[in-house]
Every structure is written in structure tokens, then in C-alpha cells.
């Protein structure tokens, strides 16, 4: 019996906690810095989960021992650590990260998710420009953010909105009889303007575009290995290539809004605030007692 109690005491000790934490921290940093692997991919790997689980077991049993012995500071730290780890796990399983594009007429693209936790709920996000602001609706929740470049945290840092103002050309592709084959706004892919191109499902061509001013664009039309045509084109000017025509009737202001939802951050932040408040009250009590 004594052996079992001693083993549990050892496994819930701070020595084991620090060693597990150091291992997790060093290997995670190594994988992120040396192998350039995204944090969530490292966090979600098998060995990382095993170590997070061991850390949680260590602190849960540690906190029970500390409460029994009346070591409240240690117990509070353990509870705080459990909260942070749980928050990270919630973030891993329920996070969403995606982009939508808006013009003054509304959304010109759906909410394109780049990262999604295994249990994250749908992508019913809508957004529109309202005066100088952007209103984002997610389920019953509504967020107002300024319609200018910036990074805006909301709802206890559980939502982050990154706004980037850009310009988007509208393209029209016609056949040689003037029949419109395809027309749409060119959506900037991600936040990069390098090598921005669009394709039409009707054609094998790629149209590489770069906005050079309010009314002109540089372009390169390619097909397979060949560059069919390249140069500068003005708005509404028609370009002829391989019996087809392409033109850019207008360039619109477009807002690329990145919406990141980390629901676990609320747990981490609120939990941390309560713990620090308790420590603060305890500190004040001790001062008064002295």
C-alpha cells in the first residue's frame, strides 16, 4: 500500500511536472523552429497528446495532494495549469480559421476555412459592410469591427478579426462571337498578391494579374508551358488571345477578413483572472493579518 502511495506521490510531484513540461516545450519548439511545422500540427501529434495527458494527470493528482495538505498556492497553480491545458485542448478540437471577401455589395466569396478543429461546428458566417465598419454574424452572435487594415480581438480574445483592404478586378471572358463564357470578381487568394491568377472552368488558360493603378493592370495569359500574351491593359480594354477576348470592366475595393475562433481562450483568460484574483485576495488577507 505504501509503495502505491509513494508511487502516486512521486508521479504527482513537481519534479515530474517540470520534466514533462520541459520535454514538451523543448520538443515542440524544436519542431516549430527547425522543421517549421505549424503549432497546431505539433500540438495535435500523438506524442504531444500523450504528454499533455500525463501533465494533466500529474497536476490533477498534485492538486488533490496539495488541497489535502492545505497548500493553497500550489493547488491554485495546478488548477490554473489544468485550465490552460484544457483551454488549449478546446482550441485544438474546436478552432476555426478562415477568410471571407467583402465588397460594399456584400460577400463575394463564402467563408473559406483554412484550419478547422475536429469538432468545430459549421461555417455559417456572414459579413457585410455597414458604414465605416464591418459586421460579422456567426450564429446568433454579431461583431462590429472597423473597416480598415488591422487586427481586432473580440469576446475575451476568443475571436480575432484581421482586416486587409485590397482591390479586386472584375473579369469578363467572351468567345469570338461575343458570348460571355465567364465573369466574376477576382478574389485575392489568402493575403498574398504574388502570382495572383484566375482560371475559368471553360478554359485551360491561367490569367496572372497585378493591379498597377486605379485603371490599369499588368497581365500574363498562359496555357500549358506557353505564355500566350503579356503586357498592360486598361479598364474596359479588350484583349484578344487564341480567338477569345478578356476584359476588366471595373476594379472594386475589397476587404479580406480573416476570422479566427479559439473558444478555449475564454476558458484560459477567465480562469486565469479568477486564479489571480484569488491569489491577490489571499495576499491582501495575509498583509492585513500581519
Amino acid at each position: 500500500m505504501n509503495f502505491i502511495i509513494n508511487s502516486i506521490t512521486l508521479l504527482s510531484s513537481y519534479t515530474i511536472f517540470l520534466s514533462l513540461f520541459m520535454t514538451q516545450f523543448v520538443i515542440t519548439s524544436f519542431l516549430i523552429i527547425i522543421f517549421k511545422i505549424p503549432f497546431w500540427q505539433v500540438f495535435g501529434s500523438g506524442p504531444s497528446f500523450v504528454f499533455t495527458g500525463l501533465l494533466l494527470i500529474n497536476r490533477v493528482s498534485g492538486s488533490i495532494f496539495e488541497i489535502k495538505k492545505g497548500r493553497w498556492k500550489g493547488a491554485l497553480f495546478s488548477v490554473w495549469f489544468i485550465l490552460v491545458s484544457s483551454g488549449l485542448l478546446v482550441n485544438y478540437f474546436y478552432r476555426t480559421d478562415g477568410i471571407t471577401n467583402l465588397t460594399d455589395e456584400g460577400m463575394v466569396s463564402g467563408f473559406v476555412i483554412s484550419q478547422k478543429g475536429r469538432f468545430a461546428s459549421g461555417n455559417e458566417i456572414s459579413a457585410f459592410i455597414k458604414g465605416d465598419n464591418i459586421e460579422v454574424l456567426k450564429g446568433k452572435r454579431s461583431f462590429i469591427i472597423p473597416a480598415k487594415d488591422g487586427f481586432y480581438p473580440r469576446a475575451f480574445f476568443s475571436y480575432f478579426f484581421s482586416v486587409k483592404k485590397d482591390f479586386s478586378p472584375m473579369f469578363v471572358i467572351k468567345d469570338n462571337e461575343g458570348k460571355v463564357l465567364d465573369t466574376a470578381f477576382l478574389i485575392p487568394e489568402g493575403f498574398s498578391q504574388d502570382n495572383l491568377y484566375f482560371r475559368s472552368p471553360a478554359l485551360p488558360h491561367r490569367f496572372y494579374i497585378k493591379i498597377e493603378g486605379r485603371d490599369s493592370l499588368s497581365f500574363r495569359i498562359t496555357r500549358g508551358k506557353l505564355t500566350i500574351k503579356k503586357g498592360l491593359v486598361k479598364l474596359n480594354e479588350e484583349l484578344e488571345f487564341e480567338g477569345l477576348r478578356v476584359s476588366f470592366p471595373e476594379i472594386k475595393e475589397i476587404f479580406t477578413v480573416r476570422i479566427i475562433h479559439y473558444p478555449g481562450n475564454k476558458v484560459i483568460l477567465v480562469g486565469s483572472l479568477i486564479i489571480f484574483l484569488l491569489l491577490f485576495i489571499k495576499g491582501i488577507n495575509r498583509l492585513v493579518a500581519k
Binding site: 522543421f35 501529434s45 500523438g46 506524442p47 478554359l203 485551360p204 505564355t227
Partner: protein, 179 residues
């Protein structure tokens, strides 16, 4: 206590790697190649770009003959784009025959164990033929163009996921003879 923590950290790190080997053996083989097999990986990247162009040439010349399609180290999106090009040419009663004159590797960058950029300068000749008679439909033309290949590591090897034309200065030819 610090000494004990450091010793345990080393022990746990070994345990971490063992758990990784058991749970995710493929990822670990990627990391091993990245740390100790960089030369082989770079050679493999060059081979993939060469194979991509070789099979691309075959696919165009054979009007999309699917025999070599499974060996083509290209993403599904790139394969679809190629077949759209073949359909476009077929609808105009044409075929294109590419012939690579030269390919110079300019830059090779492995962004991570799973992603790499390869920049090359390619010189090509091409001719249009009538489809299906294969009668010559144009004169032989040639061009030189830089391309950036973006490759993704798969279980079996590298896969080209994007090819973007880039403006690169034509490389100097050192071993060329002129008569």
C-alpha cells in the same frame, strides 16, 4: 532538483521519440530525411521536376494517353488543367508537341520537410500538328522561360502541386560549343 529534472527531461525526450515512432512512423521518417538526408531529398526534388516534364511531354505528344498518368508526379488539379488544355486543342483539331531543349536548376529551397520550391530555367521547342492526321500545322517555335515548382512530400515521394511562370534571367551556358 534541477539535476534530476534535466536527467528526467532527457529520459522523457527519448520516450517522446519512441511514442512518436510507434504512433507516427511516417512523420518521423520525414524528419529523419530532413535532418540527415538533405542531399538525397534535393536529388529527389530534381528528379521529380525532370520526371514531371518528361511525362508532361509524353502526355501532350500522345494526346493524353493515360498509360503514364499514374507515374505523373502532379496534383489532381494540375492533371485536370493539362487535360483541359488537351480538350481545348482537340476542339480546334490540334495537338502540341513539346520538346525540351534544356533545363537549368536555378534555386532549390526546402521550406519544411513537407514543402519545397524549385526554380528552373527551361528552354522548349514546340510545334502544332493537326489532330488526328498529325500533319504539321505550324512552324517550329522556341522559347525560354523560368518556372517555380512547388512540391509537396507524399509517402512515396515528391509531388508537384503548382507551377508558376517567373521572370528569371537566362543562365550563362558554360559548356556550350559553337562551330
Amino acid at each position: 532538483m534541477i539535476k534530476r529534472v534535466l536527467i528526467l527531461t532527457v529520459v522523457f525526450s527519448v520516450l517522446y521519440v519512441i511514442i512518436g515512432l510507434l504512433l507516427e512512423p511516417e512523420s518521423l521518417s520525414h524528419y529523419r530525411r530532413w535532418l540527415f538526408g538533405r542531399v538525397e531529398e534535393e536529388a529527389s526534388l530534381r528528379q521529380t521536376v525532370l520526371l514531371y516534364n518528361k511525362i508532361l511531354t509524353d502526355l501532350y505528344a500522345s494526346d493524353g494517353e493515360t498509360l503514364r498518368l499514374n507515374d505523373f508526379p502532379a496534383s489532381v488539379i494540375l492533371k485536370h488543367e493539362l487535360y483541359r488544355d488537351l480538350d481545348f486543342l482537340r476542339s480546334r483539331g490540334l495537338l502540341i508537341i513539346y520538346d525540351m531543349a534544356d533545363l537549368t536548376f536555378m534555386k532549390l529551397k526546402m521550406r519544411s520537410p513537407f514543402l519545397a520550391d524549385v526554380e528552373v530555367y527551361e528552354e522548349w521547342n514546340y510545334i502544332y500538328q493537326k489532330n488526328p492526321s498529325r500533319k504539321i500545322a505550324s512552324s517550329i517555335k522556341g522559347f525560354g522561360q523560368g518556372f517555380r515548382y512547388i512540391l509537396k512530400r507524399q509517402k512515396t515521394g515528391w509531388l508537384v502541386i503548382e507551377v508558376i511562370p517567373v521572370d528569371i534571367k537566362e543562365p550563362e551556358k558554360r559548356d556550350e560549343f559553337y562551330y
